[in-house]
């Protein structure tokens, strides 16, 4: 018996009815309903395009050491506060943390010349100095995410006296691990033949956010471009779920352009040359030596991460100088770390418990 038991007329009817329903239900929604990043916050420091926010504390007894979140450059940071019931920030606030976040903004054409040195030794450094000044302290706690983690590792290695505890989440460290498709396309195996980043930056200046998006979507071509949208049919009648879906869509396609020189250096020095773990990466004339990271480190990874393979994150253990190194993992993908209900239930308390013990 032929296994495909579908009559054409039924198939067309199914598709047409679903399309009509989807377009009708979607057309009833308005922009004001698709809110994100709603945890109250205020701007406390600004430098060029970069803004440091403080989230409004909610706990009575605030933990005395501020927690600075350093997000990646390639997406918008409100992923950590996407919606009320899926917010790492809100959960940390509820547990008494004093939470700050660096918002990198949207690079413009005049930001084309910003380098990794600017991001690490200027923006991150100045935000940390600002917090140290405000709290009359020498050190802060860092919670760094994905590429933000790589930048934070560089910062911490260069300024170890400014960091009390370091948390890295889904952070790429070894860019030459096998089976990393993003690594391969960025030139980890074949160098400029797979991505001539010099030509890209010269031709485009800043790298368009759409280009980055296209690459990310191609990593799962059918799941992310076809199946995901067909899955809408399951939630069309549930407005709350539909809005959650749209919120995620908004974040996915809200990709900032990448400052040209930063992108060039990140691709060449990290993806192609893997200089970080080789100890060859330099910033501001100084070598970034991960052995200088001697404070406690909590390394968190997603077991099903297709963007940053777990092996890439776990490599950190072999290169840092700390004796207090911990690992935490969850059976989710890269984005699941922020949107999985189970992770958001377990992860924030684990982070707070780890921090308070140090």
């Amino acid at each position: 018996m032929f296994p495909i038991q579908i009559r054409y007329t039924d198939a067309v009817r199914e598709v047409v009815e679903m399309t009509a329903k989807a377009t009708h239900n979607l057309s009833q929604l308005r922009e004001s309903q698709v809110e994100y990043g709603t945890a109250p916050k205020e701007e406390v420091y600004r430098e060029d395009n970069v803004v440091l926010y403080r989230y409004k504390p909610v706990a009575q007894n605030l933990y005395e050491i501020p927690l600075l979140i350093v997000y990646a450059l390639v997406n918008r940071p409100y992923m950590v506060d996407l919606q009320e019931d899926r917010s790492l920030v809100r959960n940390l606030l509820a547990l008494g943390m004093d939470v700050y976040l660096i918002d990198w903004g949207y690079p413009r054409r005049n930001d084309r010349w910003l380098t990794i040195d600017d991001h690490v030794n200027s923006y991150i450094a100045n935000c940390v100095d600002y917090l140290c000044e405000q709290y009359d302290m020498d050190k802060v706690n860092l919670l760094s995410i994905c590429q933000g983690g790589t930048l934070s590792l560089c910062y911490t290695a260069l300024h170890p006296k400014k960091v009390r505890n370091l948390i890295t989440m889904v952070t790429p460290v070894d860019f030459h691990v096998p089976n990393g498709l993003l690594n391969t396309w960025s030139g980890s195996a074949y160098g400029p033949a797979s991505m001539n980043v010099d030509a890209m930056v010269e031709a485009q200046g800043n790298i368009p956010g759409d280009f980055m998006n296209f690459g990310f979507l191609l990593l799962k071509p059918f799941q992310l471009n076809v199946e995901k949208y067909l899955g809408l049919t399951d939630i069309l009648d549930d407005e709350a779920k539909l809005i959650n879906f749209l919120r995620m869509e908004k974040w996915i396609f809200d990709s900032p352009d990448q400052a040209g020189e930063t992108f060039r250096q990140f691709i060449k020095d990290f993806y192609q040359a893997n200089k970080l773990i080789k100890g060859e990466f330099t910033l501001g004339g100084k070598r970034v030596d991960l052995k200088n990271i001697t404070m406690p480190v909590l390394n968190i990874f997603a077991e099903e991460d297709h963007l940053v393979p777990p092996a890439s994150t776990l490599a950190l253990k072999d290169y840092v100088g700390t004796e207090d190194y911990s690992v935490l993992s969850y059976p989710v993908g890269h984005i699941g770390m922020y949107v999985s209900g189970k992770v958001q239930r377990d992860l924030p308390p684990a982070i707070v418990k780890w921090l308070k013990a140090r």
Partner: protein, 360 residues
């Protein structure tokens, strides 16, 4: 569907599907004929349906959040792809069903049918690659890119190759003809508006135009090569699909709606694509396409800059240089300000870190 012998069922399936197709075509004939005078194919109808539904989404207006509109468009696109895929599966089955009727090896027939599709797809990029050998056609295509800059320059581009050819063969009159053609184009465009000196036949500009043509050709070759690689991946994905269908048949499983069919396809195809994406062949083909695209953009910009210079307009390179200078100055100012702050009020050196708590 009632349980019966496979060949009866298969025949019934095929006939009912073909009947359904005929009914659909009769109902949609008016609509499709407006889009295309020839007899509509299923692809035409799917395209028409998709266009109409997209138009209805686009008519929502500005009250709807762009992300809502974009999601609806993605949904429609996904549905359209699902329909097209269903059509492909049906066509493959049309080939296999008669074999099943006659008791022949229908699985092999199915695989062979998919092979036919593969050959068609692989040949298309190969035809495109062959076209890149046809210089005249490539020039025409290249100059179509520059149509916005004026028809007169097309004359230069169209005539230049043959004039260069004659020159190289020793015909000195061709040089004068080329100069005349160039001068005429200049006078009709830049010469009328600019007070800049007559550029004449500048070697530099011509070199940029030729360089642009080289990079345009390289891009098209890379594109054709990339499509060949992608077509082969599609072939592998369909082969996997066929094998999965055979396995499903042996297990007695069935697929009863479009959504399940797409999920079934995705399960196999995603793995095939991801494995192929990891290969050196695919990575280098993609890299070549990306890199030649960037080189083409650079060569386009170099030509545009020549025009901008003639009109005294700032070029991209000049703007970037200005931005770089501003960036460097800002850094210097920041560093100086920081030094001044340090001199005014140095931070106290005493430790301010709260007492460390014991772990656990």
């Amino acid at each position: 569907m009632a349980d019966s012998n496979p060949s009866e069922q298969a025949a019934g399936m095929v006939y009912s599907w073909m009947d359904a197709q005929r009914l659909m075509w009769q109902a949609w004939m008016d609509l499709a004929s407006k889009a295309s005078p020839k007899e509509p194919t299923f692809s035409d109808m799917a395209d028409e349906w998709q266009k109409l539904t997209m138009q209805s989404v686009q008519a929502w207006g500005s009250a709807v959040d762009p992300i809502i509109r974009s999601t609806a468009e993605q949904f429609i696109s996904a549905q359209g792809n699902a329909l097209r895929f269903l059509n492909l599966a049906a066509r493959a089955w049309e080939v296999a069903a008669p074999k099943m009727e006659s008791g022949e090896d229908w699985q092999k027939a199915l695989t062979d049918a998919l092979d036919e599709f593969r050959k068609r797809w692989v040949n298309l990029p190969a035809e495109m690659a062959a076209m890149t050998q046809d210089i005249e056609s490539m020039w025409k295509l290249y100059l179509d890119q520059w149509r916005a800059f004026g028809q007169p320059w097309e004359t230069v581009g169209l005539r230049a190759p043959s004039l260069w050819g004659r020159m190289l063969a020793g015909d000195s009159a061709a040089l004068f003809e080329l100069t005349d053609v160039y001068q005429a184009a200049y006078q009709q465009t830049l010469g009328r508006l600019a007070t800049s000196p007559n550029l004449g036949m500048t070697r530099e500009f011509n070199a940029r135009l030729m360089e642009g043509f080289d990079s345009f050709t390289a891009l098209n070759v890379a594109n054709a090569e990339f499509l060949v690689v992608v077509a082969e991946i599609w072939e592998a994905a369909f082969k996997q699909f066929g094998e999965d269908l055979v396995e499903l048949t042996e297990e007695g499983g069935k697929i009863e709606n479009v959504r399940d069919l797409v999920t079934f396809w995705t399960r196999g195809a995603e793995n095939v694509f991801l494995e192929a994406f990891r290969t050196e062949r695919y990575t280098l083909a993609q890299g070549k396409l990306l890199n030649t695209n960037m080189q083409y953009r650079l060569s386009q910009r170099r030509i545009v800059e020549k025009y901008l210079e003639a009109f005294d307009l700032p070029t991209r390179a000049e703007v970037d240089e200005a931005h770089r200078r501003i960036y460097e100055l800002k850094k210097e100012v920041k560093a100086l300000k920081k030094q001044m702050e340090e001199l005014k009020s140095p931070r106290a050196k005493r430790s301010k870190t709260p007492q460390k708590k014991k772990a656990g």
